[in-house]
């Protein structure tokens, strides 16, 4: 079949090339719609119950992704004119950022933070700091006495002030927010004042700021590809031959992005680079095999050599590309738009490698027959060079008694790394953002803010009553208060906030300020009076963080110091335990507890989705690879032999992740999936070559020589392929300022290296130990 296709394609090469060029031109046109940026909404798994609750209340609660700023004084404290003027200017500056929710700008200078004054027959409420106070001593006293200020809005050491700003999700632009906040930081920082900023919009701003660096890394990676090609071929023509298919692939990818309207996520750009490397390795495999066959045929007939190469390379190449693409496409089982977009875009691109990596290379070769390299003999040599020596050693470890020793070592390794891999964490492992290094500006800001204030990580839990004004039921208020006390007893919770914290001081204020009145109302009438008292002093939206407009639902804010996977799981588990423990009380008050919003709620939803998806993803990727391999080789044993090195690589990778402190999250799950899809290729190429070599033997008898020859021939191509892939991603580790990209680069490099080693070592071992029958069968798959 492949012979017929190959013959037709080569005979109609002008038409085929024209079609490819036309498609490419169409994609070039589509590139204008392509965008490289992060969209926060893409992070939400839309079907998760937490996200549904978030969407229900997002107009009231605003975007959970807030900006946190902290002004710190180096010498002295905040009680001086210069510092307090800065506080006012920073508050005004935040309030002026486009897309800001004016009801969610908080600081000691905002109108949302009030002080209460009790007189003999009245309670007065006024802004805490409408202007710079005349007397700093009096202001210090106010800070000390006003409830909920010191330790919340002013640090306990009285050297720092915090500012928070919420945004309207559809109006916010991370780049604009980042630019404006940076401007505030520049304007207000001086020798005695440090201004820091954190929060998701700032994080995304930093990521975007590093985009030029990404282009630099692309450049370095490209140069490295060229260098590797030169080392491999030692021939400029062969090097040039690989570039057009690579460029073609990139154009198609960018075209897909424009055509589908999917933004390219800057953080996961490592994966597209990996696909470029994959495309390159396909074309190199093709070229290397072509040269081998061309050389064997006496370097005379180019079309015949190309047809024969297509016949040999396409079956394993197609299988390899399909497994690559499946590995990537199956990332989409995680219903997170960011992951699904990545899966569809990169999956399509990986499929396109059939045309851009294999077919286009074949066509391209036919157009330059007279330019064939003079050093073909050296390129196809299997006995020279360092690589060949290494491959020789590997080949020896794969047969005879050595194969049993190798197998035993692998079993021990599998056991140990499997144990380590089981400890890998779901979600982030370190406090702060895993995207940046711990000493980055961003993570230092997070660390400082969390040391001085309740925290930047907020979980919103909603208590819904049966209807409007349901919160005037004292039983419901007591339930909310009970929940707050319950949560505050758990580790990692630094503080909680709800409407009960507003009502109790008012109750006390109404009754002479006597502390025994600082309780929740005893009956509906008292509760109603308290709510009325709240509204009497409020502007619209003042209490949107605390309760819904119709007073039917209360929001409890729970602050955490970090958003590590363990913290998030613990947070959600604690809330669920409370709901279970208090189900009678909740039923009695007709109250429903809804989880969850706030950035902690959303991140928990993402983690849960990733957690659920990773198992499904793993089963589907492994299952589909198993089925494809079984069908191709018409043997389950063949599929099992291919799965073993792959699984070993997988568990070693996870154990290394555990050792390096990298968690399995929205960013790292795709790496594992891609690793499986890409990693199986090496095994496929090697096993196919073993089959082909055994067919060449007389009487179909089996001999260990077949594995040795396969390792020394295809092993060389696999070695180059792996080196190319590693080169494609390893520069991210050395050059990227973003920890995430650096670690992912390292992880992918490790996966590629491990796949190379496990395939080259284990497959010959398994074949030599079990001598499976399919090896000697006539198959459609032949060697690469």
């Amino acid at each position: 079949m492949f012979n017929k296709i190959a013959t037709w394609v080569i005979r109609q090469r002008h038409i085929t090339l024209c079609i490819i060029i036309l498609i490419t031109a169409f994609f070039v046109y589509q590139i204008k719609n392509m965008m490289i940026r992060t969209e926060l909404s893409d992070l939400y798994p839309s079907n998760h119950p937490f996200i549904k609750i978030h969407n229900k209340y997002k107009d009231q609660l605003g975007s959970p992704f807030k900006v946190f700023m902290m002004l710190s004084v180096k010498d002295g404290d905040i009680y001086n004119r210069e510092t307090l003027e800065k506080v006012i200017r920073i508050t005004d500056g935040l309030d002026a950022i486009p897309g800001v929710n004016h009801n969610q700008v908080y600081s000691i200078a905002s109108r949302k933070i009030k002080k209460t004054k009790v007189t003999e027959d009245s309670v007065q409420s006024e802004n805490l700091m409408p202007k710079v106070p005349d007397s700093m001593d009096d202001f210090r006293k106010i800070i000390h006495t006003a409830p909920g200020i010191l330790g919340v809005w002013v640090s306990r050491d009285e050297k720092s002030v915090i500012f928070t700003a919420g945004f309207i999700e559809h109006l916010m632009d991370n780049n604009v927010i980042f630019r404006e906040v940076r401007k505030i930081i520049e304007d207000e920082s001086d020798a005695n004042h440090i201004v820091r900023a954190a929060g998701e919009p700032i994080l995304m701003g930093w990521v975007n700021k590093y985009q030029p660096e990404i282009y630099f890394i692309f450049g370095v990676t490209f140069c490295c590809f060229i260098l590797l090609l030169w080392i491999y071929f030692r021939n400029i023509l062969c090097v040039i031959l690989q570039i057009p298919p690579m460029i073609l692939g990139v154009i198609w990818f960018l075209g897909y992005s424009g055509l589908l309207g999917y933004n390219v996520e800057p953080l996961t750009l490592v994966i597209p680079v990996l696909i470029v490397a994959r495309s390159l390795s396909h074309s190199v495999q093709f070229t290397e095999r072509y040269l081998e066959l061309y050389h064997e045929n006496g370097e005379k007939d180019v079309p015949t050599a190309v047809i024969k190469t297509i016949e040999h390379i396409f079956p394993p190449g197609l299988l390899g590309i399909v497994t690559d693409a499946l590995g990537i496409l199956l990332i989409a089982v995680a219903p997170v738009p960011m992951m699904q977009k990545l899966a569809y875009l990169c999956g399509l691109w990986a499929f396109s490698n059939i045309i851009t990596g294999l077919l286009f290379t074949a066509l391209f070769v036919t157009y330059c027959p007279s330019l064939m390299p003079r050093n073909i003999a050296n390129i196809v040599a299997t006995e020279k060079g360092l690589v060949q020596k290494i491959l020789g050693i590997i080949a020896k470890a794969g047969y005879g008694k050595a194969s049993f020793v190798t197998f035993a070592v692998v079993l021990i390794l599998a056991g140990f790394t499997g144990w380590q891999a089981s400890k890998v964490h779901i979600g982030d492992v370190n406090p702060g953002s895993p995207i940046f290094w711990q000493d980055s500006d961003y993570n230092v800001a997070i660390d400082q803010i969390n040391k001085s204030f309740p925290g930047t990580e907020e979980l919103y839990v909603l208590f819904e009553g049966p209807g409007p004004r349901a919160l005037e039921n004292p039983g419901l208020l007591r339930t909310v208060n009970s929940f707050q006390r319950y949560m505050e007893q758990t580790p990692n919770v630094s503080r909680t906030l709800s409407v009960t914290d507003l009502l109790q001081p008012i109750y006390r204020s109404i009754y002479s300020g006597y502390p025994k009145w600082e309780t929740l109302p005893q009956n509906n009438t008292q509760a109603c009076v308290l709510f009325n008292s709240l509204f009497a002093r409020a502007a619209p939206g003042d209490f949107s963080l605390y309760f819904s407009e119709d007073v039917s639902a209360a929001n409890v804010v729970v602050w955490y110091k970090d958003h590590m996977g363990t913290t998030l799981r613990s947070a959600i588990a604690t809330v669920k335990t409370f709901i279970e423990d208090k189900k009678d009380l909740l039923a009695q008050n007709k109250c429903t507890v809804q989880l969850a919003s706030g950035n902690v709620g959303l991140l928990a939803a993402i983690n849960e989705t990733v957690d659920n998806a990773q198992l499904l993803n793993f089963i589907l990727v492994m299952g589909s690879c198993f089925i494809l391999c079984s069908l191709t080789y018409k043997s389950f044993v063949a599929a099992i032999i291919l799965m073993i090195p792959l699984n070993l690589t997988n568990i070693i990778t996870l154990s290394i992740m555990n050792y390096l402190g990298i968690g399995l999250n929205i960013n790292t799950l795709p790496i594992i999936s891609v690793g499986v899809g890409v990693g199986i290729d090496y095994g496929i190429y090697l096993l196919s070559r073993i089959c082909e070599e055994s067919h060449l033997l007389e009487n179909g008898a089996y001999s260990p020589e077949v594995t040795i020859r396969a390792v020394k021939t295809t092993g060389k191509a696999i070695f180059f392929t792996a080196t190319t892939m590693i080169a494609g991603v390893i520069f991210w580790y050395f050059l990227s300022s973003l920890r995430f990209q650096a670690e992912m680069g390292l992880m992918l490099a490790l996966i590629m290296a491990l796949n190379l080693v496990t395939a080259l070592v284990l497959i010959p071992v398994l074949v030599n130990i079990f001598k499976p029958k399919f090896i000697t069968k006539k198959l459609i798959i032949v060697a690469g």
Binding site: G418, R485, T519, N612, I640, F770
Partner: protein, 379 residues
């Protein structure tokens, strides 16, 4: 089973009675390997359970009252059913499980009998040093009392206060195991002569005692915050609008010693029948040297509200907002501030207990705090 000889992939054991096929064994191992891998995958998804820590007094806890029966046995009560007891003079406090729906404003013990009063007119009573508690009613003929265990692993059921009067009760005082008085919101004064089996409403008619100018301003209610008996017959009550009431007949009838013009008074204390002090809002304080015939202002250097005064022989202590504490070592003639050694934001202190004889300690309670201070430690 150890394989010791090889023949075409078959390995024989020492006794040569059975053999194993390596190929079969290793093929089974694939399944084991895959199973381990899948098991690992399941393990990754294991949740980490959260722990619950219980501290003596959390930031959100509000302790409203402290009472020691003797040098060893004492109780603290507060909001959200907060109840703690000590049997070692305050060396350690054990949390007692009570329904969170209660607001306990005061606790008082005489021997093994004790009473707790609180929000919504709730009155709890114990005959066995607080092992079991039951509700009491103001009319004496209310619904049957509910047994409430304070065992460590049982939570009190939610009990509707059976008192005919639902007014929040702020303070309770017992002259002996039978005779007691409790006061609270809206001028409520309840009296018992049988240890609380029957509580009789002896509240004064506020409209009769309130000055006309206050009634003209719409004031019809006076909350009462403290009650004190100097002996079996003479007692004092203080409350809003500078209200000072006194009784000379075991609390059966109350007459006005002072009302109006003054801020709320939160606490009253007498050293003897003649010398007494009362403190209130924004540092306001009065004293009398003639058994309450006249009250004169005395100077306390603070604008913070003062919530509790206790004077016993030569030693006196006052606590209030912002963790403020004053002490007197000359029987209340002069008062000086004590440094609380706390960091801002300062909690309020609402009650203080002079431990019974010879311990020379005071225990102060407030928002999120129990503070044990040795008398004279700040000198």
């Amino acid at each position: 089973m150890f394989c010791v000889a090889e023949e075409k992939n078959r390995f024989y054991t020492k006794d040569n009675t059975s053999f194993c096929s390596w190929r079969l064994l290793i093929r089974h191992y694939y399944l084991i390997l895959i199973s381990i891998l899948l098991l690992n995958t399941f393990l990754w998804s294991m949740c980490i359970s959260s722990g619950q820590a219980d501290s003596q007094l959390a930031r959100r806890d509000k302790a409203f009252s402290i009472n020691f029966r003797d040098n060893k046995y004492g109780w603290i009560v507060g909001d959200n059913g907060l109840a703690l007891r000590t049997e070692d003079g305050g060396g350690s406090w054990q949390r007692v499980s009570m329904s969170e729906d209660y607001t306990f404003n005061d606790v008082y013990f005489v021997g093994k009998k004790g009473w707790i009063v609180g929000g919504g007119g709730v009155i709890l009573h114990t005959d066995d040093s607080g092992i079991t508690w039951s509700t009491q009613s103001a009319t004496g003929g209310g619904p049957p009392t509910l047994e409430i265990s304070t065992g460590a692993d049982r939570t009190c059921p939610v009990v509707e206060p059976s008192s005919a009067l639902r007014q929040t009760l702020m303070k309770v005082f017992f002259i002996d195991q039978d005779k007691g008085i409790t006061v609270g919101a809206d001028g409520t004064i309840l009296r018992t002569e049988d240890g609380g089996i029957n509580w009789i409403n002896v509240s004064p008619n506020l409209l009769e005692i309130l000055p006309a100018e206050l009634i003209d301003r719409g004031v019809t209610s006076v909350n009462l915050y403290d009650v004190l008996f100097l002996n079996e017959t003479s007692g004092w009550v203080v409350g809003d609008w500078g209200t000072i009431l006194c009784t000379a007949d075991e609390g059966k009838t109350w007459k006005v010693s002072h009302i109006g013009h003054f801020p709320p008074l939160f606490s009253i204390s007498f050293k003897n029948l003649k010398e007494g002090w009362t403190v209130g809002q924004n540092g306001f304080a009065l004293k009398t040297d003639n058994g309450g015939d006249t009250w004169t202002k005395f100077s306390i250097d603070t604008e913070n509200s003062l919530y509790r005064i206790q004077v016993k022989e030569d030693y006196g202590v006052i606590v209030g907002d912002q963790a403020i504490t004053f002490e007197s070592n000359d029987g209340g003639k002069t008062w000086r501030s004590i440094n609380s050694n706390l960091q801002p934001p300062y909690p309020w202190f609402v009650d203080v207990c002079l431990l019974p004889s010879n311990s020379a300690r005071i225990v102060t309670v407030g928002k999120g705090i129990i503070k044990d201070t040795k008398i004279g430690s700040n000198q």
